[in-house]
Amino acid sequence: MPQTLEIRRSSASLWGEKTGMRHLPVVAKYIDTTTCIGCKACEVACQEWNDLGPVPTVQTGTYQTLPNLHPEFWNLIRFNERETDKGFAWLMRKDQCMHCEDPGCLAACPSPGAIVQYANGIVDVNPAQCIGCGYCETGCPFDVPKFHQKTGKMAKCTLCVDRVGVGLEPACIKACPTACLQFGTKDDMVARGRSRVEALKANGFDHAVLYDPPGVGGTGVVTVLAHGDHPEWYGLPRDPRVSPLLRLWKSVLRPLGAVAMLGTLFAAVGHFMYQGPKEPREGA
């Protein structure tokens, strides 16, 4: 699979943001929550490959390493216990950046090039351009990017862009012992997920789904959920989308505001040319 770092989209950029000559296949991670055994090998692999941590664990009453993603902990297995129609279930899901097709972080970012989406769909933060405003965290429907106090920058999963770029699979995928994590083109991963969902349905999990939410244009992480009617049981939003308020101000209020401000300036100049200065008449 050819992988380069061609850029498809760049934050706060107008023209010339795309560098791509080539049409590259979009890549995706496949996560099957039904065959995850919660071993956390992916967590360790992520820390090692990315030279992160160590981050002290936090006891939350489950096997979960931390309550949430962390600027130095980008890959977290979430452990949830639920009473389901099939009885008690122990649900584990690998949480990380979802690499949205339409990333809310990128839309919210005010700094040119601080968040980029590569042609292969990977969404990445460029710390050199990041101004640490935190808007990406607010804009992300999955609450993924985290502000690092030490660096003053945002940090998150890169989908191992440095590995993928040279034809390797991401570190987390490499480490998974049950093959519940897989990596390939988005099309292949979606096909694999669909067949797995069919198998689950045949085994009585009527609500099984492949989580690939359309509200953000689909994600670069497709997740098989046995209880797809309850994505929140896995810590996933039901219908994630980029905030309409964000779109309202960036696409409507901002151009209107520019017109209003420039219009007032022109009106003032026009008024002066037509009316001239207001001064007392001679002899007043």
Partner: protein
Amino acid sequence: MSSGAPSSLADPAVLRARRTEDVVVGDEIVRHRLASRVIHWSVALLFFLALFSGLPIWTPVLGWMAHLLGGLNVCRWLHPWAGLLFFLAMAAMFVHWLGDMRLEPPDREWLRPRKMVEYMKHEGDEAEVGKYNGGQKLFFFAVALGAAGLIVSGLVLWFPLSFPRMASELATLLHDLTFILFVVAVVLHVYLGTAAEPGTFHSMVRGTVTRRWARFHHPRWYREVTGERPRHP
């Protein structure tokens, strides 16, 4: 006092008088004493500092402004502090000028749309205009309200991760809307205070206006200050 004020400027008595507002100094009248002018220019300077450090964050079209201040990282640091100081200066200005800005019946009359159009067409009847006209008072209260909106939303945007997501999103919207209206108002304010009405800018720099200016733009204030009777043509 034949050829105008400049010859009298070095007179210590005149300089002292300039620290008191609404007094006649030779051929001129002190309209803005030193304290008023210092407060006004503090507000103005901090406004433009906040504006030019905020605009490149608002849109990449104005990214070049960030370079004038040392880059977008500097703006991200500078903008909230400039905004905070701007708000404090605005608060001082509000207290300082509130007494002069109470809306009176002639001001309400002045603020009727037809009257404002007449004013802009230089056809208005200004006979009852005191030290500040209805438009100036409206501007005063509008920017005070605007500054309140900017500080409330600005504090949320300064620390967006300390507030619920909906609060950050609404703050963005409020900050955006308020600043646009603020800029529109400031453009009008600067225009009316400089090119449109000669002599006005001088009052905010040196503090004084000519009798002629005062009689023309603010007749009632002129009568109050000088004790002259209204002139009936």
